[in-house]
């Protein structure tokens, strides 16, 4: 379970969010610039709220100035809006980065399956700068889906994909959701996607849920 | 030639003569207001190479005969103007409070001593000569430096017990009081030569300046700085 109660002053408005996500997929919709990415960054520990609390599976990961668990110990999987692929690593290495050494050996088949499903297994040895925009996005998706986190954050993860690739992504996400039973927060501007995937839809406007 | 250039006399001087030459310059320019001495200091080797490459110089005053010979052999020097201007003496210096003499260097009393590098630094060459037959036995104790100043640094910082320096350097070596003369018969005369550069366009004034260096007035300055008068 993910529970959030935080506020943070942004340049043009204040982000002020109360939200609880159980083992469900919540879709976060909202105008561009309304604070969605910032909220995700706060949950992942990449931005500091001005105050409030965040807890994951009953562990408090943020509480005002008293508690701040750094990102590497929050167990949050995160697909970044701008992918944040490592430019110096191949696709394969990028995806495996989320795994520990021992997992890497054990999970080889799983990694292969994910790459296959997303249609990027032929790009394994390519560097991010050698692949197309949508291919990059699929690498970012793969990287987040090879290992079970405690919470999964997805910032417009399918925005650069064609209908077929989107479908494959949806399928993968659905099966992962079944397996993992974790809170998932997905940002999208696509209504069809929202309705197809979301157990619950929430809307953000100028930093507030409504 | 501009007027300023006409007044200028360029002197290339070994850096170990810096203090002497600064006084000489003042005195000479006062006496000869029409002359502007432009003094160029450097190691004797550097100066010799500069003259070799056609750098402007009228008078050459190195700290050793070797570098004078180097330029002479290349025909860059008006040999008729050659004179020995001053002499120097080798002394053993040690740190204030300690006192070692030449004999101590040869005995076991001294663990290490500093001297100029014998192949290239004149002070080192003379020191090696002074050590004579004992050189073989004491050379392991020797630390080589590129000039007397570095020898002094080693003594002052306690990294060596003693070192060979020139008497003329004594005046400037703060913190090194205990000095003992090296027996004179053990090394050859330490000569400071001077001559007019062959290419000089102002050889007359240059010769006049060389003559001034041999005058009583400047010889006193040499003397005051610990050199022995030449002729």
């Amino acid at each position: 379970m993910l529970s959030i109660d935080l506020h943070k002053q942004l340049s043009h408005f204040k982000l002020d969010v109360q939200l609880r996500i159980h083992h469900e997929l919540v879709v976060l919709l909202g105008r561009s610039g309304s604070g969605k990415t910032t909220l995700l960054n706060c949950i992942a520990g990449l931005s500091k709220p001005d105050g409030g609390t965040i807890s994951i599976d009953d562990q408090c990961v943020y509480d005002g100035n008293r508690v701040f668990i750094p990102p590497q110990r929050r167990g949050v999987g995160y697909i970044f809006q701008d992918y944040a692929l490592f430019p110096h690593m191949t696709v394969q290495k990028n995806v495996e980065y989320a795994l520990t050494k021992s997992e890497r050996a054990v999970q080889r088949n799983h990694v292969d399956a994910v790459l296959e499903t997303l249609g990027i297994s032929h790009l394994r040895k390519s560097k991010p700068r050698e692949i197309s925009g949508g291919e990059k996005q699929r690498v970012a998706v793969a990287r987040a889906l090879v290992r079970r986190p405690r919470v999964l954050l997805m910032d417009e993860p399918f925005s650069a994909l064609d209908e077929w690739s989107k479908e494959e992504g949806y399928g993968l996400l659905e099966s992962v959701q079944q397996d993992w039973q974790i809170p998932i927060l997905l940002v999208t501007h696509n209504y069809r996607e929202a309705e197809r995937l979301g157990d619950r839809l929430i809307y953000m406007e100028e930093g507030r849920l409504c | 030639q501009t007027e300023e250039e006409e007044r200028t006399l360029r002197i290339s001087v070994a850096s170990s003569l810096t203090n002497v030459m600064e006084e000489v310059e003042q005195a000479y320019e006062q006496e000869h207001p029409s002359i502007d001495l432009l003094i160029n200091y450097g190691s004797s080797g550097t100066l010799a190479h500069q003259i070799d490459r056609g750098a402007p110089a009228d008078v050459f005053l190195p700290a050793s005969t070797e570098w004078m010979e180097f330029v002479m052999e290349k025909g860059l020097i008006d040999e008729s103007t050659y004179h020995e201007l001053a002499y120097n003496e080798l002394v053993v210096a040690s740190k204030e409070g300690e006192s070692y003499n030449f004999q101590d260097l040869l005995d076991k009393k001294v663990d290490s001593f500093a001297m100029g590098e014998p192949e290239s630094v004149p002070a080192g060459t003379y020191a090696k000569e002074a050590l004579g037959e004992q050189w073989e036995t004491v050379q392991d104790k020797a630390v080589f430096a590129k000039n007397v100043r570095q020898v002094a640094s080693y003594i002052k910082t306690g990294n060596v017990d003693a070192g060979f320096v020139y008497r003329s350097d004594v005046m400037t070596l703060e913190g090194l009081t205990s000095l003992s003369v090296v027996p004179k018969e053990r090394y050859s005369q330490i000569v400071y030569p001077g001559a007019v550069v062959a290419l000089s366009e102002r050889s007359e004034e240059a010769e006049a300046f060389l003559a001034y260096l041999r005058s009583k007035e400047s010889q006193e300055i040499f003397h005051a700085h610990g050199f022995k008068e030449g002729g």
Partner: protein, 220 residues
């Protein structure tokens, strides 16, 4: 106290830095992207003034720029200029010795940003010159600035090559490092220390000022 050495050093270091900055930046850009035959060879040759002891560099410069030297004789014949033993020689020495620092920094600086941004600028009709000044240069600036700092510091401290080709003449070529050396040589310890302090103040001050002037576009 005669402050001439301070001004001279500041002047020599500043002019050298400007020259080296311009030459280093242009060559750096040239060598950063694109390939041509002998690129790495030339890049490595450009490092030699850093490898060789300054005295050797000074020696080489003396050979080239001396009255009988290849360049020196031409300069003398054509313009009646004589560089050796003047403060221009100090600028020359500092520039040559500091050049590798700027060059290496510049090459790296021009390799570090996303070249797509230059391409984007081209599509908007910007010519090579405009793209260089408005995109490449500002994006490379942090690396170039690092080069400038190293260059200035090195130029300020240059001693060996300067002594060789400019020599030490009071009121003419007595930069701070030379003054320090000769103060020590003539046993004037306290004066040497004073010059060292000036040098530290000058070097520290300028480097501090330059360091403040940083604005990495990626800094966050």
């Amino acid at each position: 106290m005669d402050l001439f050495p301070v001004w001279l050093s500041l002047r020599v270091a500043t002019i050298s830095t400007i020259i080296v900055f311009i030459v280093g930046t242009v060559l750096g850009r040239l060598f950063a992207r694109g390939t041509f035959v002998g690129k790495t060879v030339i890049r490595s040759i450009f490092m030699l003034p850093l490898v060789l002891p300054p005295t050797v560099i000074g020696f080489g410069l003396l050979y080239l720029f001396g009255r009988e030297g290849f360049i020196g004789s031409l300069l003398n014949e054509w313009f009646g200029i004589q560089i050796v033993f003047t403060w221009y020689a100090a600028v020359l020495a500092s520039s040559v010795v500091a050049f590798p620092l700027m060059f290496q920094s510049a090459v790296t600086a021009f390799q570090q940003y996303d070249a797509n941004l230059e391409r984007a600028a081209y599509t908007m009709g910007a010519g090579k010159w405009k793209v260089f000044w408005t995109v490449s240069f500002p994006l490379a600036w942090p690396g170039l600035l690092a080069g400038v700092i190293l260059t200035f510091a090195r130029a300020l401290g240059e001693f060996g090559a300067t002594l060789m080709i400019a020599s030490y003449t009071k009121g003419l070529t007595n930069t701070l490092p030379l003054e320090i050396f000769f103060s020590v040589e003539s046993g004037n310890q306290s004066q040497a220390e004073l010059f060292v302090v000036m040098m530290v103040v000058l070097g520290f001050g300028t480097v501090f000022f330059l360091n403040k002037w940083n604005g990495s576009p990626y800094n966050n």
